[in-house]
Amino acid sequence: MIEHIIPLTMVVCLLLGIFSGYPVAFVLGGIGILFAFIGGLPFAFLKIGVSRIYAGVIENWLLLAVPLFVFMGAMLDKSGLAQNLLYSLERALGRKRGGLAISVALLGIVMAASTGIVGASVVMLSTLALPIMLREKYKPELAVGTIAASGTLGILIPPSIMLVLVGDILQISVGELFVGAMVPGLLLGGLYIAYIVFVALTKPNDAPVSTHIPAEGSLALALLRDLFAPLALILTVLGSIATGTATPTEAAGLGAICAMILAAINRKLTFQTMSTCVRETGNTTAMILGVLVGATIFGMVFKGLKGDEMIENAILFFDLGAYGTLGILLLLIFIMGFFLEWVEISFIVLPLFAPIVAGLDFGLGISREQQLLWFAMLVAVNLQTSFLTPPFGYSLFYVKGVAPPEISIRIIYRGIIPFVGLQLFGLALLIIWPNLVLWAPNAVFGN
């Protein structure tokens, strides 16, 4: 226990720093640096930090999708296309109570299928949908909860960088993971929508019918007109990935270009619009990736001070049968999600957990590989949840970063709690019925 005092103090200081209201990025990075000195790590050790910033953030080609999607979101927003898109979707749903929130959730699923970058889709959805939902008198909590949760689905629904990394670490085929993630991803999306419907039925004032929808004209014609832009966009992004014309990163760029063309058709592509979108892109990218820069420094020092051994010892301390052990592992990942970034969690704990899980007997009569696949999916859903858990959920920070000032972090925390509940409910379903994960890969790859 005594040897874990420093990593433990580090976590406590991190929480204190975060609650002081100082920017999260610098609390993470600064606490990392301070504890490198307190913990007596050699001065040269910190050189690794520069390498990690360079290789993990700048050289990480996948993160290029962040500014590209942010720019696309800003362009859609400034050109009025976003509004038309959401209203059209809502009209298509028959202008029911809660229709706008359901549209946002659906848009989140579509975005999820086109990218795996949580920051980008959360920011884009917030930019697009939050002002509209607030104007339509949605309860702010429901609005931000829907946006944060739907935007985070992207990390689970393929293509997903997280699944690629998890597959790499656990040595499971990425293809099976991708196929295996479909049902859980759609299940969670379905749970969100069911919850919104439930709120709309029980608390009508929280999820009203939109009043700003232009009601005149034939629905079919309006739909055709308003859906043209979003369809063009979705076709560009998803189509270019599906046909292999572009990588997911490049698809984000094509989406941004497409948004500019649509804005031009809408006669909204002025220098003023460009300038606003560009500035927005710069600031938001700095905000999202700043947190990542801080987190990479924190994670490095935490590991250097044997924080990973602290976690390992915590597991060995308990000895609770197959499901008990699984529960502890998932609980640990869940708790780590409060203060570490998912990349760090994956690298630190998955190699430790994999042999433990492979050795457990759940009495399911499935192969070792299938058991690992199932576990990987439980971890993935768990990690996805960690984006949403207060106080330290990255998605919550991203929403906060672009939301109007009246949306306090307290509102965001309150708003996300029901969705975290849904996540945990979904996770429980996957634990009870492993076939929710295994059915699709078995059908596709015929194991």
Partner: protein
Amino acid sequence: MAHEMDTQPGGPERGIGPVHTVLRGIVWIGQAAAWLIVPILVLVLIGVTLSAAKIGTIVRWENDVFLFGSKLTLASIGDLQWHLFGIMLMLTMAGAIVSDRHVRVDFLRQNFSDRTKNIIEIIGFLGLLAPLCAIVVFHGYDFTVRSFAMGEGSNYDGMYDRFVLKAFVPIGFGLMLIAGLCLTIQRLRILFGKGKPHD
């Protein structure tokens, strides 16, 4: 966007003097760097087009040219995209500090007095931001020099002279250090009554 005019108390839009000039300069650098998104978009379009047209090597020439070597390939176009992205990120982080766009968990902060907020910002700078930036600048300089000395570059016909990109790590964190320092000077002035809080 709601935050456009949101700056730190006593931010660059308000006031005069050398500190304000520096802060304005940092914001300007960030806003200028953000325009790099435009060439990135163009490069994405070029990359996708060339890839669809099955063109790998775009043009080759006789002598080695700074950054580009002796040919322009699809790999160079891909490399150039994330080079510009890295430069953009490193140069916009300091501006985002001045414009107060970095994420804060503010649910306790909302109830703090201006004085408490100023004290937290000053401690935060001295205890967290300044050490972080100082270390990255110090080691980042070394990191850049070593890359220059090795002549580091692509070994797959991509971009060369990697030290140019790497140099933006210490430059970016240096700008953040300067931004933090200037804001801290402003806050100290306010704390000790030599400046005006807000307007």
